[in-house]
Amino acid sequence: MVEVDYRLTAPIALDVQFEVRGFTALLGFSGSGKSSLLKALAGLLPAAGSPWAGLPAQQRPVGYMPQGSALFPHLSVLENVAFALRGKTRLGAARKLLDDLGIGQLAARNAARISGGEAQRVALARALARGPELLLLDEPSAALDAATRDAVLAQLIESIEARGIPALAATHDPAMAMLADWLVLLAEGRIIQQGTPRALFDGPATVTAAKLLGYQNFWPEGGQTCCIRAEDIEIDGGGIEAVIAGVREQGADLRLRCVAQAPVTVLIKGGEKAAFAVGQKIRLRFPEDKIRLVGD
């Protein structure tokens, strides 16, 4: 576990305290300063705090993987991994890292000519070469093909956990955050909540936290704010009356935009588009156990 306590002033003001436990996801909206925080931890942006503040990037025990892997395109895969290593054994050590990650066959390939998933594993091998105490991953899912994304990410997380190195992955994607051991929410320049993904997805503390975690429906009730996920609303009789304002297929599911006292978004798993039409009246039921009370 690594305890982080950092303050940045530029390019964005941040004052954050949180823990990195195992594979930790740092979830925040675009522009919330996730990448800046990672860069500051890597020593690439000035910041105050602990750990390592004041040390130059070259001396920090940190493995940094920026968005899109950032392999050196003028070097082979093997030379990329050996970049941080010195001495006669450097290429041998690099080859062992590649073999351990199951990508030894890529060693001689040009780093500019491999797939996004392969590049990410090479970037991991390169970051591991220095024996880091903390791995920093900026949007690890961004450069991956949608079709193989989840499998590649799961494999990446497995490889990191197998080595027992704490990792901090910045993401804006709640689906990616769900794969983590520990989840940290960044908004308005500070950490608004942290905990296990299950605890956070189940109990967001504020409206912002709930929005970050994918909650879409909010309404005031008795001086507080309630929220519910689009997929937790039921339409099988009972509940409040609403009018359908929009119908859209979302993969195998169906997304309904409805108007009740407030706008409501409903996600029906495996819903048939033909069964719904704009202007149609339906009844929406909000199961008590799925409604969450959040602070402002």
Partner: protein
């Protein structure tokens, strides 16, 4: 319409290349020769240009890297200072250099006392070439270095690399085609420099001044052998690098 633009294109290309036909038709190849003075001029140009190119690379690359990475008032000022000599007529630079480095000027006199004579000497020839070509190199190399993604330098820093090592392992290799093209441009400027050398380095004569003298004394047809050497020295390297860079871009 297609035929019209095609025709226009060919016309422009023909216009640009017709002077080369003069090489075959305009010279008195049977009687013209290369004199000992001509040969000395070739050696002066190639060695002086070579020394200037090394100096330009060593002095210009850090400046180009600074201009590529920094965006501020100071770097804007630095860029303006680089552009001024590039945009000035070379004859004007020559006169200003003579006024600054000449034997009558304080700086020129001080340098002469420690044995560095910067008018009509090999050092003056190199100085002229550097003034002619350094700004061109800096501006072109800056553009090439600006293309290097900063996150690759960031990653290299987190992998323990810094300073010159980082530059030579990451930044320069990634910008090598552009930097090579910038060097080629600088070479062309240095080889062809006439205005500055006319004032501060008439001797030792490089190829342009020698050609000028030969034309005055022997007439145009007689200078074609030296002209051919001049073109051969100045053109092939930049042309090759330019085409190579274009292929890489495609």
């Amino acid at each position: 319409m297609k035929a019209l633009t095609g025709g226009l294109l060919l016309l422009v290309l023909a216009f640009l290349t017709v002077p080369l036909f003069g090489l075959a038709t305009g010279g008195d190849w049977l009687h013209a020769t290369i004199s000992a003075d001509d040969l000395r001029a070739v050696v002066t140009s190639l060695t002086g240009g070579g020394v200037a190119l090394v100096l330009i690379f060593c002095a210009g690359t850090p400046l180009a890297f600074y201009l590529a990475r920094k965006r501020g008032r100071l770097s804007a000022l630095a860029e303006a200072l680089v552009l001024i000599p590039m945009l000035m007529p070379t004859l004007a630079i020559g006169i200003l250099l003579a006024a600054f480095y000449g034997p009558a000027a304080p700086v020129g006199a001080a340098l002469a006392r420690i044995g560095v004579v910067l008018t009509n000497s090999p050092a003056a020839f190199v100085l002229a070439a550097v003034y002619a070509a350094l700004p061109t190199y800096v501006i072109a190399a800056r553009a090439a270095l600006r293309e290097v993604p900063p996150e690759l330098e960031d990653v290299a820093a987190t992998l323990g690399e810094s300073g010159l090592n980082l530059f030579f392992r990451v930044s320069l290799p990634l910008a090598q085609r552009g930097v090579a093209a910038a060097l080629a441009l600088a070479w062309v400027r240095a080889m062809g420099e006439f205005g500055i050398v006319l004032i501060i380095a008439y001797f030792p004569q490089g190829m342009p001044v020698r050609l000028w003298v030969d034309v005055q004394e022997l007439g145009v047809p007689a200078v074609f052998p030296l002209l051919a050497v001049f073109l051969a020295a100045a053109l092939p390297l930049p042309l090759w690098l330019g085409l190579r860079g274009r292929r890489a871009a495609l």
